[in-house]
Every structure is written in C-alpha cells, then in structure tokens.
Amino acid sequence: MLAPLVMVALVSFTDKGYIAMPFDGASWRWYRAILEAPDFIDAFWRSLALGAVAASLATLLAVPAGMAIAWHRFPGRDTVLGLLLSPLMVPHVVLGIALLRLFTQWGATGTLWGLAAAHTVIVLPYVLRLVVAAATGFDRSVAQAAESLGASGWTVFRRVELPLILPGVAGGWLIAFINSFDELTMSIFVASAATQTLPVKMYNHIAHTIDPLLASISTVLIALTLALMIALDRFYGLDRVLAGKT
C-alpha cells in the first residue's frame, strides 16, 4: 500500500545525481539542493498561501450555506445542495479548461485571484459536507433556549451555534487546505508560468527528467502531511473527515 511513498522517501537520500535504487552512499545532498532551488521554494509558499486563501474563502461561503441547509427546510434546498457539491462531479481536467476559457473571456488568465477562485470552488464541497454533518448533529434546543432568553440572532450564532459546529468547520478548513495544496490537474490549465503551484512545478519537472530533487521535495511534503494528519485526527477524527460522515 505504501510502497511507492516509501520508495520516494528512500530515493531522496541518494548521493548520486540520478535516481537509482538501491544505492550505496546515503546523503542529505538532495535536501540541501532544495535550499538552492528558489523557484521550488517560491512555488511551495505560493501553494501554501493559495491553500490558506482558498480554504478560508470556501469556509466563509460554506458555513452559512451549510447552516441553512442543515437547519432550514426551504424550497430549492436540494438543488442548492447539488449545485454547491457539483465540483465533486466534474472532472478536474474539464473544470480546468472551462475556467481557462472563462478567464480568457474576462481577461483574467494567469492571475492569482483567478487561481484562488478556481481553488475555492473546488474545495468548497469538502468544507460544506463537514459543516452540514456537524450542523445536522446539533441540538437546536440550546439555540432556542438562548433565543427565549432574549439573545439576538447574531448573538445566538456567535456564542452558541458557531462554537458547537467549530470542530466540523476546522476539520473542513484543513481538508480544503490539503486538497487545494495537492491539486494538480485543474491548476495545470489555470496557473501560468508566473503563478505555478508546487504540484504543477513538480509535474513539469517530471516531464523532463525524474531527478532525486523531486524525491527529496516529495519526502518533505509527505512528512508535512503526516504532521497534518495527526493534527486532523486530534481535531476531528481522521476517519470522519475522510469519509465525510458524521
């Protein structure tokens, strides 16, 4: 199951100039090389920032929508839910060319905000699913008690509802962030040379040659993801997040 990832980690420690397994000398050479590859480091920070922005925007949009869907029965509710979850059903390659087409129309190709919008839309369903799940399991009587004591709608939200769905919201943010950071296929079309995300940069590099630098970068990413997984598990329970269930 983990063989490919283990391979990547092992190869990153080679002292040779090319990928070879097995090898005799182990070295940190390819990790030092990361520090000398400024464009990869740039791409890393860009992906990080993009992920944070996309996850945050998606959360801002998904929390109110999720609460409405979970707590109110209104005409068109199912359609709205379907529309908000629709990116899950569109192949990323199709979304990629569609957004490229849209941005060309708007003169927004190669812009960071366009890329951010694209990522926001792709990760929104993940946040929404978790917000709806968290809100559905929520006992409304607490909120009603607060209302009956005279609290305004905003106070009820801020001091009763939000704190109680916060674990779901936080887990959603994290999953959205991870999905944005890892996204490749759509980003290939929407990102330009100046706005390359890390996965796109790695992909373009692989297209030329598979060199150990990619392995060391990948290993760093695997380590960071492991750390995130532990955080996710503490927050919410890894299986609930990945399965999208309550």
Partner: protein, 286 residues
C-alpha cells in the same frame, strides 16, 4: 429543522450559490459553446458554429483508439479496485479499534498526498532501472528488464493504487450498516466463511460497492497525472489529449469537444450502471 418562512436561508446560501454559478456553471456552458467553433492551425478560432469537431471525434481512428484505451483502462481499473477494495474494507471493519486506526492511516493517508508524489513513487518502482526490475534481476529471475513504464499495464497498476482508497471508503461506509447478526445467523446455520462473505455480506454492501465503482470509474477515465507520467507521450488517454489540444495545438474547440464527449460518456455509463445494479438487486436498495 425549521420550515422557515423567512428569506434567511436564501441569504445564507446566496454567496455560495452565486460563486458556483459564476465559476462552475458558467464556465461549463462556455466550454460547450466553445466546442462548436471551427478551428484552423493558421487562423485560429473562427466564426460561426459547426459540429465538425464532434464528427472528427466520431470518425477518426486516432480518437477511437484514445477513447477505447481510456475507457478500457477505466473499466479494468474499476474491476481491480473492486477486487482489492472490498476485501480490504472488510478486513478493516473487522479489526480491533487499535489496529484499525493505524490501518486507516495507511490506507487513507495517501489520499492526502498529491497525486504527483504518489505517481513519482510508481515511476521509481516501475522504471527499467527501477526497484522492481533491479530486485528481480539481482534475484536472477530475469535477464533483461521488464518494461513496465510507458505501458498500459503500468498505467493501470499505478492508477489502481491511487484509486483503491476511494473504493475502500465507499464500501466501508456501507459495511457500517451491515448487522453482524446476519453473519452470525448464517454461521449458525452452517455456512463457511466464503459463503457468508459471498451470499450474506456482499449483497448488503452492494450500494457501497456500486457507489465506489462509479467514483473510481469516473476518476479513472478523467485521470491526468498518472497516465501522463506513467503512460508517457505515446500512450494517450482522453485527458492528456485534451491537454495536448488545449495547451499544445491551441485547438481549444477540439479540446472542449473532447471534454464534452468525456463527460457525456462517463455520465451515461454511471447512470446506466446505477440503474442496472439497482434493478437487479432491488431488495438491497430499498
């Protein structure tokens, strides 16, 4: 749940809905219209509407091969994912909580890592100088390296590895709802493990298997990174062809037409399979 007469829910969902309409619905509609424009290498996108690209796709041998390869691979990958994923989910469900947590991380963790990294691992494993070939030749089992990179088989194997977690998730969700009493009842009536699995457990997880299979099929048919890296330049599938047309030949209308055909076929297969399975095993879905 309030059956609210207030407009509040509409205000709450409005930002999300507007965003989706602007950045999903609108672009898809534009892409559909884009596919109807003519294109020539010298003058670019032309005026007027034409279904020329669709007829090209329908009649050109080149595209037939690509579509057959794409969907053949998707079917193969889906079948393998079912064969591997269902037992895996079952084992996962029957583990004690301690082991299950670790196993969940091992099985589902890779989903959190970029597909580029996972596919890189396969490229390392499958290369002529890669781990598998090196080990086989050092064990004396082969003389010349087995070609696995840039082959259909290599592509399929890597894709199965990437997509099995989705199958496991879907089946596992279904498995949660299976009442262990049904298995125990079957055992008490004398059924051996294979019979219990095949005739009691499997029919009950069928909704999960179906949903998992549809997810895997759709993802396999529209996969880009893995076929591009493992399959290489010569073994084209539909998504990599779309990439070529869009970013290489700049023939956007053809790329758009390919995308439309891809989505239509995936939808048709999904709906058809859904209806077929639900009708045949109606009891389970009620």
């Amino acid at each position: 749940m309030q059956t609210a007469r207030t407009p509040l829910p509409y205000w709450l969902v409005a930002p999300g809905v507007l965003t989706m309409l602007a950045f999903v619905a609108l672009p898809l509609v534009l892409t559909l219209s884009l596919s109807l424009y003519p294109f020539s290498p010298s003058t670019g996108i032309g005026e007027g509407l034409t279904v020329g690209h669709y007829t090209d796709i329908a009649t050109d041998e080149y595209f037939h091969t690509i579509f057959l390869r794409t969907f053949g691979m998707a079917v193969l990958v889906t079948a393998l994912c079912v064969l591997i994923g269902v037992p895996e989910a079952y084992v996962l469900g029957r583990l004690s909580p301690g082991w299950r947590a670790v196993s969940m991380v091992i099985v589902l963790g890779p989903l959190l890592i970029s597909v580029v990294v996972r596919t890189l691992g396969w490229a390392i494993l499958l290369g002529n100088e890669g781990v598998i070939n090196r080990s086989l030749s050092s064990l004396g089992l082969i003389d010349t390296p087995i070609r696995m990179m840039f082959t259909f088989g290599g592509m399929a194997v890597a894709l199965v590895h990437v997509l099995v977690p989705f199958m496991v998730l879907a089946v596992w969700a279904s498995l949660q709802k299976v009442d262990p009493a049904t298995e125990q009842a079957a055992e008490s009536l004398g059924a051996g493990l294979p019979t219990v699995l095949a005739r009691v457990v499997f029919p009950q997880v069928l909704p999960g298997v179906l949903s998992g299979a549809l997810i895997v099929f759709a993802l396999a048919a529209s996969a880009f990174a893995t076929p591009a890296i493992i399959g290489g330049r010569r073994l084209k599938v539909v998504p990599t062809t779309i990439y070529d047309e869009f970013l290489g030949n700049l023939n956007w209308p053809l790329g758009a037409a390919l995308a439309v055909v891809l989505v239509v076929i995936v939808l048709a297969v999904s709906l058809g399979a859904n209806r077929f399975v639900e009708r045949r095993w109606r009891q389970v879905f009620e």
